[in-house]
């Protein structure tokens, strides 16, 4: 039957919502068509991830066509089962349906192919954009392009931690320098105390020399009184007196040296004290600057940690996008099986061969499936809502 002679229900298929339930008495080929429609409907959950508008439009047109065929077949008077009276009538026995399928199936296949190509093109564009985004992400130093090593941000954080570790000893070293200066000043003060003792000892030596001189003078007087008998003792007394005068000279020189040393140590101690005070102020100021730098380093480290956390979040999002964008591959598998089945149906129609029973047809359709989702959807109860479960979980098996 030419298309212009089709029943009104085929030319203007009813809206999906007003479609009555499929009658139980449909011929096998109509059931096969309805099964094909069911398989097409199985695509809808997968389309949640795709260009939903375009796919839904395509699915709606396809569904309306299929339902129209179903209604048209139902409106027709009952046909004989076949030449042999069996349950497997040939398409040639119903030339109007064969003509319809021969004209409609190529269009459906072309539309399905077009939709698949659109999806692939769109997915390619999305993947390209994601690739560019990931490249910029990596170039900004957030990526993990070395396959497991620390990224640039991680290296920055490590450098900051190293800076902090190296700056901390500087503060301690400055404290050590100040303590060393104080120790020198303390030693100088100790030495000045010792020189004071030395000055007292020099005074003692001078006093002893003076007393020895007086004693030698008295001895010389007594030797003179003794006359010739005391002449030898007079020589000894003179020598003792000379030694006491030498001792007095030595004590005087020692006292002079001590005064010189004391004076030099006093000026040194004064300079050291001034230096310690000046260095202490400088060390304190420098230590404060170093502490400030350490604070900045710590802030940078904390900022770097925040950047790393953001980077990890973005990296996780990119990985999720990589998973999500594989919808095209899955949709292509599903649509490919439908395209193949449409081709098989078209081949049967064009050759006029007898169609196999629906279970056999469906079994062959099922053999084209590659994914568990397809098999589960295929086995779902007719009339039930489409299977909307998530895609099969990824798994890895090593041999």
């Amino acid at each position: 039957m030419p298309a212009t002679e089709l029943p009104q229900s085929v030319m203007n298929p009813p809206h999906r919502q007003s479609q009555p339930p499929a009658p139980a008495g449909l011929p096998p080929r109509a059931l096969a068509l309805m099964a094909t429609a069911g398989s097409l409907l199985a695509l809808l959950p997968a389309l949640q991830h795709a260009d939903a508008l375009a796919w839904s439009a395509w699915a709606g047109v396809t569904l309306a066509g299929l339902l129209g065929v179903g209604v048209g077949l139902r409106a027709r008077p009952a046909q004989p089962s076949g030449p042999d009276g069996g349950a497997h009538p040939s398409v040639a026995a119903t030339p109007s349906l064969a003509t319809l399928l021969g004209k409609v199936l190529p269009v459906w296949r072309a539309q399905v192919t077009l939709a698949r190509e659109h999806t692939e093109e769109s997915a390619g564009t999305l993947v390209g954009e994601l690739h560019g985004l990931a490249a910029r992400f990596d170039a900004a130093g957030f990526g993990d392009s070395d396959g497991g090593g620390a990224g640039t941000r991680g290296r920055t954080q490590a450098l900051l931690a190293e800076c902090e570790q190296q700056l901390k000893p500087v503060v301690h070293s400055m404290g050590d320098i100040a303590a060393g200066h104080a120790e020198v000043v303390g030693s100088l003060r100790g030495m000045m105390a010792v020189t004071d003792e030395l000055r007292g000892m020099a005074d003692d030596v001078a006093r002893i020399a003076q007393q020895t001189n007086l004693l030698a003078l008295n001895a010389a007087i007594e030797a003179a009184r003794a006359g010739e008998a005391g002449r030898g003792f007079s020589v000894v007394a003179a020598e003792v007196r000379r030694l006491s005068q030498d001792s007095a000279d030595t004590a005087r020189r020692i006292a002079q040296r001590i005064e010189q040393v004391t004076s030099m140590m006093a000026s040194t101690s004064s300079a050291a004290l001034q230096s310690v005070e000046r260095d202490g102020r400088s060390i304190g100021a420098t230590g404060q600057r170093v502490e400030e730098v350490l604070g900045h380093v710590r802030e940078l480290g904390q900022g770097s940690e925040a950047l790393i956390a953001h980077g990890q979040a973005i990296r996780g999002s990119i990985e999720n996008l990589v998973v999500g964008l594989q919808f095209q591959d899955r949709v292509s598998q599903i649509v490919g099986a439908i395209e193949q089945d449409m081709g098989r149906l078209l081949g049967s129609v064009e050759s006029g061969q007898a169609l196999p029973p629906p279970p056999q047809w469906l079994e062959r359709l099922q053999q084209a499936y590659t994914m568990r989702d397809q098999r589960e959807q295929h086995g779902s109860v007719p009339g039930q809502p489409p299977h909307t479960g998530a895609a099969s979980a990824a798994r890895a098996v090593f041999f």
Binding site: V127, S392, A394, R395, F398
Partner: protein, 123 residues
């Protein structure tokens, strides 16, 4: 020196996703849309360290391609990972018998793929 991985899949977007994941991890990536062109790439390439191949492809499917790789004079020892939506146990058994090193099901995530690559890739 960067190692080279040949990615074989009839879906260009899937190839791009695999390539992106591998190149970000520091690998050089070659691409082929089916087994026949992948064999041609193997003939021409100086060195391919690993092959990641789909199973269901036009012209030459992944299992046939795997069998051809194992007969290749220069690449018969090159490890092959199958990356596929196929979850059929019989197909997995075929791949194992033909010498595949691993069987990954799509949708893959990059860490899983890189882990498999690092486990299979010779040092």
């Amino acid at each position: 020196m960067k190692k080279t991985i040949l990615v074989v899949d009839d879906s260009s977007s899937l190839r791009s996703l695999v390539k992106m994941s591998l190149s970000r991890a520091g690998f050089d990536v070659l691409e082929a849309p089916d087994g026949r062109q992948a064999l041609s790439q193997l003939d021409q390439a100086a060195k391919v360290h690993l092959v990641v191949s789909d199973v269901n492809m036009p012209t030459m499917d992944g299992i046939t391609f795997l069998q051809e790789v194992k007969k290749h004079p220069r690449h018969r020892f090159t490890p092959v990972i199958m990356l596929t939506t196929e979850d059929s146990g019989s197909r997995m058994a075929q791949a194992r018998a033909a010498g595949a090193k691993a069987w990954l099901t799509k949708p893959f995530n990059p860490p899983m793929l890189l882990d498999a690559v690092s486990r299979v890739l010779p040092n």
